[in-house]
């Protein structure tokens, strides 16, 4: 039993990492029906920028700067990669542009920070805490809380503030929002800024647990994409549940079946969801009128 709970706890920590990255996919999809396939690289850049800053200041002081960097990076991606594709009404142009930007970011990072995986100093004690025989790293708790906090913050912002309402309006119906005088172009740029900001934040959250390096975002970005699909690309609740399912499936399959197959159940679920409910477990299917 103790082992089972330990696996669940580790799965939750892992799942929340996936969830917070998946949340970034959602933000841009809601406003513009485009995704930033460089989400993993946005996370990586956030972590590496954070690593460079953290030697000059405390971890907590570094976070706002990384958030700012993430937002700017998101704006850059949108302006360079997505906007031209949206302007030309290219259905799939943004897929290639965001992927190629991701590769460029990775190469730039390799040139600046080198090819090796680096250690990110942990702001919290690195020895685990014990609760009834279950061992948790303080950093894992911070990841779960931090991920929930940023998602909550973005949700509150969207619901309460006037700017947030513009975002919601744009997600509901971009044309109508435009007619109501909302600058939908700005809203889309803004959603990219938010999206990369959450990814950069996720980067500095997970970096002390994982290793930091130019390639750290590749696998995380891909798994988070699976989470976004499982949970539904327009459901905030969906990514959290999706993340937890994938994270827990990984750790428990690894233990009870075989560590060689630990990625299989999550991907089977992905196939299943796509076959039965393509909008995701919590997604609303939209009827497209032609």
């Amino acid at each position: 039993m103790e082992i089972f709970v330990q696996l669940i706890v580790s799965g939750i920590a892992l799942g929340m990492i996936y969830a917070v990255i998946a949340f970034g996919y959602q933000l841009t999809f809601a406003t513009s029906s485009t995704l930033n396939f460089g989400q993993g690289e946005a996370l990586m850049l956030g972590a590496l920028v954070g690593l460079s800053l953290v030697s000059h200041m405390s971890y907590w002081l570094m976070i706002p700067l990384v958030l700012l960097f993430g937002a700017l990076q998101g704006v850059f991606v949108e302006r360079v990669g997505v906007l031209p594709a949206l302007k030309t009404k290219s259905e799939f142009g943004w897929i290639m542009t965001t992927i190629s930007l991701a590769i460029i970011f990775k190469n730039v990072a390799e040139n600046i920070w080198g090819h090796d995986d680096l250690t990110f100093p942990s702001p919290l004690p690195t020895s685990p805490m014990q609760f009834f025989g279950i061992r948790v790293l303080p950093m894992e708790i911070l990841v779960v809380l931090g991920a929930l906090a940023i998602m909550l913050a973005v949700e509150i912002f969207n619901r309460k503030s006037i700017y947030g309402k513009a975002v919601v309006a744009t997600s509901n119906d971009r044309d109508a929002a435009g007619l109501m005088g909302i600058n939908t172009g700005m809203v889309i740029t803004f959603s990219y800024a938010l999206s990369s900001m959450t990814a950069a934040f996720a980067g500095v959250l997970v970096a002390p647990l994982t290793l930091t390096g130019a390639t750290m975002g590749v696998v995380l970005g891909l798994k988070a994409f699976a989470v976004a699909i499982i949970g539904g690309l327009n459901s905030g609740m969906g990514v959290i549940v999706g993340g937890l399912i994938l994270g827990i499936a990984e750790t428990t399959t690894g233990y009870y079946i075989s560590t060689g197959y630990k990625d299989v159940p999550g991907l089977l679920l992905l196939l299943l969801v796509l076959a039965i409910k393509p909008a995701g477990m919590f997604g609303k299917s939209v009827i497209k009128k032609v």
Binding site: L7, H115, P128, L211, V219, T253, T259
Partner: protein
Amino acid sequence: MNNKIKTIVTALAFAASGTAFAADSIKVGLSGPYTGGSSPMGISMRDGVRLAASEINAKGGILGRKIELIERDDQADNPRGVQVAQELINKERVVATLGYINTGVSLASQRFYQEAKIPVLNNVATGSIVTKQFLPPEFADNYVFRTSANDSIQSALIVKEAIDTHKFTKVAILADSTNYGQLGREDLEKALAVKNIKPVAVEKFNIKDVDMTAQLLKAKEAGAQAILTYAIGPELAQIANGMEKLGWKVPMMGSWTLSMGNFIDNAGKNGEGARMPQTFIQEPNTPKRKAFITAYQKAYNPANGRIPSPVSAAQGYDSMYILAAAIKQAGTTDGVKVREALENLNEKIEGVVTTYNRPYTHDDHEAITINMVVMGKVQDGHVVYANEADKGIAVREKAIVKAKK
């Protein structure tokens, strides 16, 4: 001004004539991962080879010609390695190629050298089958050589350390899912079987995995007294850190990659005491080693004076000298002649790892034998001799009688 134009024109003419110009230098290919998780090994290997090549060139080169290294990044990626091999053979027309850190890349690429009859010296890749891909009777001659300790040697030493020295009876194997990890796992299982021991758990993980809880819990529940590893630096660090998280600390022993800088740094105190077989430990206990370490530090100025992967650097350095000696003896850069010279080297080569006295024969392409390999351990961020006694016996030559098959 006029002169300058003349030089440019001449240079262009030379460039156009291509091969005529290239004949002035001896082109040696260098294939290794200079990016990604294997890069500390790749870069150390490359720097070791560069160091040897520049020393040889400073003394006038070979056959009166300079060595020119054609360096290519294979990114530890099998298809990329194949591209590099084809480029080096067909476009650059190299005399021989040194390199290969990753067993998978080596296995995928070297058949092109075999077909082109160009020798290839594996100076880091350890997979047992690396030198056994092209054996008689199917292939009359084998063009694949090695200057590293293969996995059969490494796994035998790891098992010896765990079972004979530490008297453990229950061990778990954790290996990554690459060719390297899985071939190494097989070798470990074979070496354990010789001692009539079956591992209590055999677990797998992927490159870039960030959570090792499931693997470690299985090993823990099975009552493992030690973890035997076959993986590379970053994931090994995750294992060491994962053990700390679970509050379960047993000795870690594994292949030589436990000496990688990215394991030692990222595991920090959790990596202390990890043991691994080594052909070279950064310790100036012979004049040759002292000269090599000083020259390396002077040329590349590594952080804290620590060579990122001392084993790779030393084996890379030695492989260049062995090749140079063979080309000199052959008196030509013809691949067949160079291979014959390698298999029958008259010159004794004083290398960093050992003194090479007839390192290869027609049927034996392994320069390193088990007696040359010592156990190292991680201590205060460095790899040191695990057994103080090994420090004294610095140069061990190739064992004459070798266990065959």
